[in-house]
């Protein structure tokens, strides 16, 4: 790279992010989330000991973007697979990267029990309120009234029940040490999301227990929106049902969050 004496480098590819083209749809926030994770891995200097457990969904090939040791779990089983890895290799940093269909539907049992056991793992949980890879079916996180390819008349709570608020649920468990929700719909929220991801990994490095960051994400393709409309929908439709906030922060992490007490709940 050619540099000049007065040049200041303000943006470069993190070492943990592979130099490849994206296969994600235009406007999808997976790429943003991948980059945030890679930046945190670089900043914590843990690339050489990090193991990614990828999941089934659009992020099935997340290991093509993150230059760390990685495996691909069966649908919903990432938390169980990560448990197996961490138990035998406790010195590694182990994290799962899962979508809402994978984690909140088929993998809810594995997720809850990993949290209940206080597995020293980090979960990066992308919630875009839909099954992306299979073409836009209703997820457990789809909003009431949301039209999807398998709820063509809109999600009816009498037929399909209510959307699951995962980080609130996991915050109730003693083994969870960090459970927060952030959003990727604009730059300010992306910066906040990165801070949370870093704390989640730090919680694991401190050996505290299970940390999870839920990231409200877009799926313009299956929402049938433009990328900017999708970001607006996160802000206007998703955040009211899925309030951003810190639902559990272990006392050991307080100084990192600049909080005086581990208050539960966001701006409901």
């Amino acid at each position: 790279m050619v540099t000049f004496p007065d040049e200041k480098l303000v943006y470069e590819r993190p070492e943990a992010l592979a130099d490849v083209s994206t296969h994600y749809c235009p406007g999808c926030t997976h790429g943003v989330a991948h980059r945030l994770v890679a930046e945190v891995i670089d900043e914590l200097a843990i690339r050489e000991k990090t193991i990614l457990v990828a999941s089934v969904g659009c992020s099935v090939f997340s290991y093509n973007y993150l230059d760390v040791d990685a495996c691909e779990a069966a649908h919903g089983r990432a938390a169980a697979m990560a448990t197996g890895i961490k138990r035998v290799n406790p010195d590694n940093v182990v994290f799962t990267y899962q979508g809402d269909g994978d984690l909140a539907s088929i993998g809810i049992a594995e997720t809850i029990h990993a949290a209940a056991r206080g597995e020293n793992l980090t979960i990066i949980f992308l919630n875009n309120a839909i099954y992306g890879m299979t073409g836009g079916q209703m997820a457990p996180t789809s909003l009431i009234g949301q039209k999807t390819s398998s709820s063509p008349f809109g999600r009816d709570e009498h037929l399909a029940g209510y959307p699951l608020r995962i980080v609130e649920l996991l915050a109730e468990l003693d083994g969870t040490v960090y459970s927060v929700r952030r959003s990727l719909h604009d730059a300010r929220h992306i910066i906040q999301a990165k801070k949370a991801i870093k704390i989640a990994f730090e919680a694991q490095l401190m050996g505290l227990g299970l940390s999870i960051v839920e990231l409200l994400s877009t799926c313009p393709t299956n929402w049938h929106m433009t990328p900017t409309e999708a970001c607006d929908w996160v802000r206007d439709a998703m955040i009211p049902y899925y309030p951003l906030g810190d639902y559990k922060v272990a006392p050991e992490l307080m100084t990192k969050t600049n909080r005086k007490h581990s208050a539960i709940g966001g701006a409901r």
Partner: protein, 365 residues
């Protein structure tokens, strides 16, 4: 070492500990629960990994995780639990991951009962999960073999980077016999170079079972098939022959059904019938060559199983119509008695001589 009186399930567990099992993940299910209980004590005493999972589905995926991390890992279960674990077996097979599974079969289908059967022969040898693969399957008939096969299973799993099943019925899990345990082996000090330990000073390792593109996936399948053929050709087929040298007739049976058949052979020999037993010890790879030679030697073969006739089809295929192959099977947890088997042999002999025999006991033949 001296022999000690050991329960089958405990023998499986302690043999795994001594063979160098670093991690165990399981879920309680009768009739294998004593295996999990023994591991819950011994693995913790030895500062190894024991975890009682929330389900068999979780347990098998924890095994998958511990295996991709390069450790020597096992699980155990019984029929309904094995059904749930099939997801993980398929993923492990599709990523060349070694692991040991001990399956103590119970009565099915459904919840069935907790009595011993061999009703899952097909499930384990033919289709331990979706897709084209076979695990190596070892079938012990004694508590001593439960020990020996568990030790062998860890060796074969590592050697071929494959799943190895030890498949026994509930009788072998539950009974006590004198047996000798092996000495304690040291745990491996290094992880395999393919495993996930962190990309420190090397390219990142990725273990996945997804292969998009028809040719990509066909190529992977061809690799799996080559590996299976290599195992077959490497002399891993194991069997026991009892009184087959001069036999005019033969019984083919495995596990507990083979134990009853040995006694039946003795009774029939005392009655002047030249009969022997071929007992497959590896159910995959199956002793095909030995069965063909046997079929060329004898006038008739009786397959005895505690199911509706599953290994029967492998025997018939191997025998290649060189000899008639008859079947006697019991289900639901009933263990065939030696006298039952001897009766069936006598009926087979009469039938082959063209004598119409009345009073078939109504079981499958």
């Amino acid at each position: 070492m001296v022999k000690q009186l050991l329960k089958g399930n405990v023998a499986f567990a302690e043999a795994a500990v001594r063979a160098g099992c670093e991690a165990y993940f399981g879920y309680p299910i009768t009739p294998q629960t004593e295996l999990l209980e023994h591991m819950s004590r011994r693995m913790v005493e030895l500062d190894r990994v024991f975890l009682q999972a929330e389900s068999e589905v979780a347990a098998v995926n924890m095994v998958y995780g511990a295996a991709v991390a390069g450790s020597r890992v096992m699980t155990s279960s019984s029929s309904p639990g094995i059904s749930l674990m099939q997801e993980g077996f398929s993923y492990m097979a599709a990523s060349d991951i070694p692991a040991v599974v001990i399956d103590i079969m119970r009565g099915g289908p459904g919840l069935g009962n907790i009595q011993p059967t061999q009703g899952d022969y097909n499930q384990v040898t033919k289709s331990a999960g979706h897709g084209d693969f076979h695990p190596i399957v070892l079938a012990p008939a004694t508590v001593q073999e439960a020990i020996d096969h568990t030790v062998l299973a860890f060796e074969l799993a590592q050697k071929y980077r494959t799943l190895v099943f030890v498949l026994a019925d509930g009788a072998i899990g539950q009974m006590m016999e004198p047996a000798e345990l092996p000495p304690m082996r040291d745990l491996p000090t290094e992880r395999p170079d393919w495993s996930l330990t962190g990309a420190d000073g090397r390219d990142h390792n990725v273990i996945t079972s997804i292969n998009l593109g028809a040719l990509n996936l066909e190529n992977y399948n061809l690799h799996l098939q080559r590996k299976l053929r290599e195992i077959k050709l490497a002399g891993e087929t194991r069997f026991e022959a009892v009184h087959l040298e001069d036999a005019d007739y033969a019984i083919v049976a495995f596990g507990t059904a083979a134990r009853a058949s040995v006694t039946a052979v003795k009774m029939l020999r005392e009655a002047g019938i030249k009969i022997g037993l071929l007992r497959p010890i590896t159910l995959w790879p199956f002793p095909e060559k030995e069965l063909l030679e046997l079929a060329e030697q004898v006038k008739g073969i009786l397959v005895v199983e505690m199911n509706a006739g599953q290994m029967l089809h492998d025997v018939r295929e191997a025998a290649a119509a060189k000899a008639p192959v008859k079947f006697y099977g019991r289900m639901g947890g009933y263990i065939p008695l030696p006298a039952d088997i001897a009766d069936e042999v006598n009926k087979m002999i009469a039938d082959l001589a063209g004598i119409n025999v009345e009073g078939s006991n109504g079981h499958l033949s």
